[in-house]
């Protein structure tokens, strides 16, 4: 009895030890992890940041994403690609109903624009998508901190929380994905009412009588299209002698300029804006020929400054680390997205390469693969660009002027949409597909499309380019009839042989 009692006590002591030990261990563990060191901390919840966070969650990393906007998705989802596409699509419908329905056999009554509703539709699409990203964070176990992050040292990020207060997180790996902001125009202050950036241009309170767009790149031309369709008299001022920005093939740029001019947009190319004056009722821009010459002025109710974007690193506390930026403010990285401090990596608009959401997305996946598996992949020679005007413009790979400049021999084949059956039935025959190939091997070097659905069609060109296809490979691939994609096939035929329908 006594012995059993003793055994009982021993068991109890042992049980006591066992029951207290885990709590002691857990207390020690809590202490050890007090700094909450994560596998990965991402500063920025834009396309680069949120995609990296989701991918990291999928790969089993403990990940925190810090975003100060209060909604995820960054410029693209909140004040960029997504809201502009909503406005572009709906303004196109409005314009088409108004001007392009009668000859199609559709007679409509009084067509009115409800700008408030147009904006609400835009907001609905934005909210739906940003909330969707938040759901994906939860699904993939990503910790989301709403606040402004700044480096305290190489491993610690101080976060000023949006709801007040402060916290800090530390990570074994850190990714800078803070994106970009609109470049300001010197001497013309952006008030987002009369002088607007792309953000302000997405939510004007009323359709301006006249709109001047400084910069004929993709953003400028998309916004010019929106407000021109809604009734504004739009003038685009471009410093270079062609619109469309870097990368757009000259022939395509000329073609789209002609089409947009036909739609009512005025262009002043090879023209620079000397200065602007906002003191009177209208904003006055003083213009000069880019290479010196005739001076003139232009009055507009609203001026859109769309001269490009610059990397955004303000308040990030990079001075507390050894991370370097170049003369244009881009974070300097190596081929594995490592900054000078190897565990701090950087992707998206804030570093090298074109400022495109899909490029940021590719990099976000690659950087996580580098962290987790040591091997990632982005082909910078195969990143498509799309301009969502009507018709759309899209391209991938090399342009004719690039090849000429590099002294590389090439062969060109084109096919116009006016010879494509589907485009004809749609009564949308403006534009063409242009292919550039190596004359010896027939390997595809570039695809340039101006025409309906170009943004979707370029995916085929991108795939062909990524796989190193020849034009004959594309031409021998069966394309459904009647589709716009047949123009793609025929352009490939035109490059290595002859098209059938021309």
């Amino acid at each position: 009895m006594l012995s059993s009692r003793l055994i009982g006590r021993t068991a109890v002591r042992s049980a006591f030890q066992k029951s207290t030990m885990p709590s002691m261990i857990s207390a020690r563990r809590t202490y050890a992890t007090e700094a909450e060191q994560k596998d990965l901390v991402i500063i920025g919840g834009g396309v680069a940041g949120y995609v990296a966070a989701i991918k990291a969650g999928q790969e089993g990393l403990k990940v925190t994403c810090i975003e100060k906007r209060g909604t995820l998705g960054g410029t693209c989802l909140n004040v960029g690609c997504i809201p502009s596409k909503s406005l572009l699509n709906n303004s196109h419908l409005y314009h088409q109903i108004l001007h392009d329905s009668k000859h199609r056999g559709i007679e409509v009554g009084d067509v009115k624009l409800n700008l408030d509703q147009l904006m609400k539709a835009k907001d609905t699409s934005v909210t739906g998508l940003t909330k969707g990203v938040e759901y994906l964070f939860k699904k993939n176990g990503v910790e989301y901190i709403k606040g402004t992050g700044s480096f305290q040292d190489d491993h610690t990020i101080k976060v000023a929380l949006n709801d007040g207060g402060e916290t800090s997180v530390s990570g074994k790996n850190i990714i800078i994905a803070t994106g970009s902001e609109a470049s300001p125009f010197p001497g013309l202050e952006i008030d987002e009412k009369r002088v607007v950036s792309s953000t302000g241009a997405l939510s004007l309170a009323k359709v301006p009588e006249s709109l001047a767009v400084i910069g004929g790149g993709i953003i400028g031309l998309e916004m010019a299209s929106v407000w021109s369709r809604l009734g504004a008299k739009v003038t685009v001022i471009e410093f270079m002698d062609q619109i469309g920005g870097p990368g757009m093939d000259t022939e395509v740029a000329k073609s789209i300029q002609k089409i947009l001019k036909k739609q009512g947009i005025n262009f002043k190319t090879s023209t620079k804006v000397v200065n602007g004056d906002t003191s009177s009722e209208k904003v006055k821009l003083n213009l000069d020929a880019a290479k010196g010459g005739k001076e003139e002025s232009l009055d507009a109710d609203v001026v859109l400054v769309a001269i490009g974007r610059r990397p955004y690193t303000g308040g990030l506390g990079l001075e507390n680390t050894s991370v370097e930026v170049d003369e244009r403010g881009r974070v300097v990285i190596d081929s594995e997205y490592r900054t000078k401090v190897p565990h701090i990596r950087c992707v998206g608009d804030v570093t090298f390469g074109p400022m495109l959401a899909h490029k940021a997305e590719e990099e976000a996946v690659a950087v996580i693969e580098y962290i987790k598996k040591g091997y990632g992949h982005v082909n910078y020679g195969c990143i498509p660009s799309v301009m969502y005007t009507f018709p759309e413009v899209a391209w991938v790979g090399q342009s004719e002027q690039d090849l000429k400049k590099a002294g590389i021999k090439y062969r060109v084949g084109t096919f116009p949409f006016s010879a494509n059956s589907r485009a004809k039935t749609n009564l949308d025959t403006d534009g063409m597909v242009k292919m550039i190939a190596d004359p010896e091997t027939d390997r595809l070097l570039g695809v340039h499309i101006v025409g309906p659905n170009a943004g979707e069609m370029i995916a085929e060109g991108t795939l062909a380019l990524e796989y190193g296809a020849s034009c004959e490979d594309i031409a021998r691939t069966c394309h459904a009839h009647p589709t716009l994609a047949e123009a793609f096939k025929e352009a490939a035929m035109a490059t290595y042989s002859k098209p059938i329908h021309m």
């Binding site: 042992s14 990285i333 598996k373 040591g374 004959e472």
Partner: protein, 135 residues
């Protein structure tokens, strides 16, 4: 019959070979050089000078780690690192016996070899000599 065969052969040679080929399932290269290289989209196509000066012995920690030795190569390839201990045979890992003079503590054993934890009910039962079971 013979002529047809010749014609078939000729046709076979004339057949076009597509540029797009199936390369098989993607796999991570067995050895990846992690030494620093300029980013492909870098406008200068070079790394800043200051980066080179800061690490005279090796270009990066990853590069160092790839060649580091600690009881043999620390990390030869990505493959072996990914596969972990499962990549090695038991014999390769050596004996599980402790060196002489060293004894393993019971608490170092995996949980399944340790004493099963007692529940509160069991403790009460022992304390009360079993009476708690009938209370």
């Amino acid at each position: 019959m013979f002529a047809t065969r010749i014609l078939r052969q000729a046709a076979q040679h004339a057949e076009r070979t597509p540029s797009i080929k199936f390369l098989g399932k993607r796999s991570i290269p067995s050895s990846v050089d992690h030494s620093r290289a300029p980013h492909p989209a870098s406008p200068t196509h070079s790394l800043p000078e200051s980066w080179k000066q800061s690490s005279p012995s090796s270009t990066s920690f990853s590069a160092y780690r790839d060649h580091a030795q600690q009881f043999g190569p620390l990390r030869k390839t990505i493959k072996s690192s990914d596969a972990g201990i499962g990549d090695h045979s038991g014999a390769e890992l050596g004996s599980v016996k402790p060196p002489s003079g060293i004894a393993f503590d019971r608490n170092e054993l995996p949980a399944r070899f340790r004493r099963a934890p007692l529940s509160v009910l069991e403790i009460e039962a022992v304390e009360s000599g079993g009476a708690a079971l009938f209370a």
